[in-house]
Subunit: 345 residues, 4 copies
């Protein structure tokens, strides 16, 4: 199969190339970059020297149709929806790694992303690409909205109990911490090395644009509208998200019962690992891999559940999950190209 | 005035020396090390070469009495109480940086620190050394129990509202993140560079020994018993704690009213800085300084307050606060030796 | 083919497992650990959870013979030679990642490694496993001495000119910088996170044990005895070596002629990349990959050549090169299992 | 005394403020910023909140004359010379931290800095502000050209032997490594956190603009023209330079004799520390302090001297040295405000 990537300059585009280059069943036949069109790929990403010596193309739907069977869009949100819409109209299967097709409600999109949605007619058919929840829908999808990095870690952490209807939503607090690659490749004061290393801080407290995406999906699982407090923080690391989730239950359960629910829910999921008690996740244990590591810890003094969820934001939180979605859509083995051992140290 | 430090090998002892070396009104006349007794200080801490060329002494109460007016104990918890007890019996003023005299209840100490308390008769008179709360008591104290690093950040973050009685304790969750120097100078697998850098994780979730210390002090402020969920995390940085505190209120207030309470509470406190809205604390802004930076953020969707509190764990969280206590006890200006600008970048 | 690893606890053993797990033509059938014998692999290396759920075995030559066709020894130098000797006597092919069989002269080994060589009779037949220089010998070898990390970077940087006989050896200076994983997995004061991060220093200046290995190999290429000044430094990164090599030439050449020699020498080498001028190597461009990136820069003011050479010390500097050697020994495609894109960011 | 700083936005201006804020004998009365004129200082540098609550001024020579006795220029090279010239014409004493007045030869300046010198008439009287070499000249100077960071580390490392005339200049190689703060506060791709951390590389090999400055000063010491090979590298740390210097001698000496020369040369220098053998410098041992740590190591196999020199690039390499110069110029104790213990950990 021939696949293309729209927008290879940024970190998600780059990570897609890395994963797809090692995927035996697909060929990368079409790579575009707006800012680097006409230039050799290894000029943007010098680590590709002698590995992938190709030239970046400008975007062209004709070329996409001619050269590919499926296209990944790794454009920033706001820029992606127009191109995805064009590709879909030309009949191509698309996996969109931006936020543009994740929310079902165009008004909600406008509210949180501060812009009008340009292709709202695709929102209904776009499938939210979290395979652990929507595998069957993804199989038949033409447009997959690849989940955000924070949502992936939080949804996998909460899904088993949300689906059971035992969460006391009013008590839910998510304190998430992300590495810097999640903020992208464009330099900024915040990510300037002497400002960012040896530093730590929260940002967009209770105001992050991934909030409605999580609330939409948790609401579906719970069968009710849900809202919660979400505070992201910036870690001085390249890759990794750890979400620490605090919630009370509406029914009485002990840690063993809760673990059983998680084990049952993820029994057949290769990429979700429930750690043996009392281990807690570390971002390094999923580094550069598609795994999500989970732990549940019962605070018996306060009858509060603590769920810890770790992913690599660029893999399970972006490009790896996109490849997993592609495998499902194209009928490959779901883990194809994703069996790598996490990189540690 | 002549002061001594018991236990200069570790990071808190070392940081005390750094601060006291630049303090105009005291002289460091007595430095002990169990493991390095008889050896030059700059053999343990080579950065002192040509700065403080002295030899570490073994512990001796006679020498302490002869050479000092006040002694800091920078021994680990469990080891400190015996030496502190001996020094107190000899009539010396002591500031203990370990956890040994912070809890008023010896049974609680045994439960959380897994050992019997050897000097419980000093617990009643030991003053908890958080100047913003106990300035007057510290002034007259002979034994000050210097607060833990996490407790300092959390108590300063919660005190204004705890004292007002407006916190809904049942909803309180503290998600804290600390740099590695808090774990001390002894090498371990967890702090081995290739394991620790580019990594992040929680540890001792809902089980950290600083929990009862915070509950004791918050309970005093609130006039009732309180318990809450506390989860610490290990940051790949050297210095810095950021505590993210989530709590609901028992009365209706907006962010402005809450800010006013904080401003009023800390009006005369040099070392507590309420950031102008919408700024959030960064650990680098208090690096190597005695400041505690606070922000309050109202999550209006969930009617939940988010409080962020940043300190340098070795300064306001340990040695700096100890110097502040010493200044109060010895009648110096409280900020003496602590007016440094935070180190950034 | 069935392969085994002696000593999977350390970083080289762990990296071998990572690479061999993704190698289609071999099966990992025998993994030993002295300190973790009888324990699950994922207890030492928790990132293997649900990936390789096996139990570490104690060393047994019988078991090795029964279960494997080729064995890697990832034991520390000094410990490896005895086990390798036993395995060889039992007829197994061995790739030794320690320094024990690299030096041809047992007396030189004793001088630099401060211990007697226990299997000097294998030194003559052991092949130095740098495929770019000894491919044919490796093909027929029973025992391969896998090169050291510093030597790999320096030899690949100097080989084209050393083989031409144009280096003025008296002027040669190598200033090398290595990441911390090269020092292994055992915690130490030097690698304690708060001591190691935000720090940089040289160590074993003009006294490092890799010196005679480089001199032996350069001497072979040059056809004369050579000695030079080698100073290694410790970088606060996990992976990566950059060697900066300074040397004058015995003949007049310009940068273009020198580049031509390198291009010719490495024309058919997949894993050596001569960067286009004026690019200089960065350790991140070879991260977690088997590449060695080279640049040559002519200092025309001083008529001195500057050669820069970057590798990942755990891959091309250890486990990756060992896999490359295995591929050659077992008749696989040389790049099998080593075609990964460098991990960046 | 009243002092001013032209250009407080960048890292050197910021570091000057940090040091001068703790200096008892001077008052900071005039702070300018082109980009932040009219804005509160703590908007650029939020760590100054509640510490220095002042407003940045636009540059005005009248205001400088009215409010200050001495002015530091922390402007970038190329921008500084015009302002310095204006301040000098108005009769103010100036310490210029840029490169604009370091080279005595305006043509050499043009060649390396790619611009015309706008105030060449001040080059003759500007004193090169390395107190260990030019203390007397600095005492009477009206304009001090504060040395570059690399030159400070290299000159202090070589001065004792250069002055003795025993260096074989043809053999001199300097391999220098600098932290990222030396590159300034403006974000760039190279210093973007995910590109810079876990990475290492050389830059401007044999082409760095600090080369002629070092050659000028070493030439003066040696009484002859000298040239050498200089290669800087970028370390993933905030602060610190380590220069590794390789050179042969024209006379026979052993390590003891060489050490004696260094000890004699720096006998009365507080800020230069010759480490006891066999210790080697670490950048952390001079962190946030004005010290320069030196070691000399004789490579007896190659009869080559290895000199290691460590400084904090923002302190002894910039702002600290500027304060040292100010102390000399204004008749204060030379170490005033510079007696801090290096920050470790």
């Amino acid at each position: 199969m021939r696949v293309g990537i729209i927008g290879v300059t940024g970190y998600t585009g780059n990570e897609l190339m890395r994963l797809l280059f090692s995927h035996d069943d697909v060929e990368l036949t079409y790579l575009t970059s707006h800012s680097f069109a006409g230039k050799p790929l290894d000029e943007i990403h010098p680590h590709y020297l002698k590995i992938m010596e190709t030239v970046c193309r400008p975007f062209s739907v004709e070329e996409a149709v001619e050269k590919t069977d499926l296209v990944f869009s790794a454009l920033p949100h706001g820029e992606s929806m127009e191109k995805v819409s064009i590709l879909r109209e030309a009949g191509l299967k698309v996996i969109d790694l931006s936020a543009d097709f994740r929310l079902k409600d165009a008004a909600l999109y406008s509210e949180w992303y501060k812009r009008k949605h340009l292709a709202p007619h695709y929102l209904a058919t776009a499938v939210y690409g979290l395979p652990e929840l929507y595998r069957e829908e993804i199989r038949g999808a033409s447009l997959v909205a690849n989940p955000g990095c924070y949502p992936t870690s939080v949804l996998l952490g909460l899904a088993p109990l949300a689906a059971r209807g035992v969460l006391d939503w009013e008590t839910l607090v998510v304190d998430a911490k992300s590495g810097t690659s999640g903020a992208g490749r464009v330099p900024s004061q915040t990510l300037h090395y002497p400002e960012c290393t040896e530093n730590f801080r929260a940002y967009r407290a209770a105001d992050h644009q991934h909030t409605p995406e999580m609330e939409q999906e948790l609401g579906k699982l719970a069968g009710q509208e849900v809202e919660f407090t979400f505070v992201p923080h910036l870690l001085p690391i390249i890759r990794g998200i750890l979400s620490t989730i605090y919630v009370k239950l509406t029914v009485k359960m002990d840690e063993k019962e809760i673990r059983d629910i998680y084990e049952e829910f993820y029994r057949n999921e290769q990429f979700v690992r429930l750690l043996p008690s009392p281990s807690l996740p570390e971002t390094r244990n999923v580094y550069a891999s598609n795994y999500c590591d989970l732990a549940v810890k019962w605070d018996s003094r306060k009858n509060r559940l603590i769920i810890l969820s770790a992913i690599d934001n660029l893999v399970k939180g972006a490009a790896g999950q996109a490849v997993q979605n592609m495998n499902i859509m194209l009928g490959f083995k779901e883990s194809k190209g994703l069996n790598m051992v996490p990189l540690r140290p």
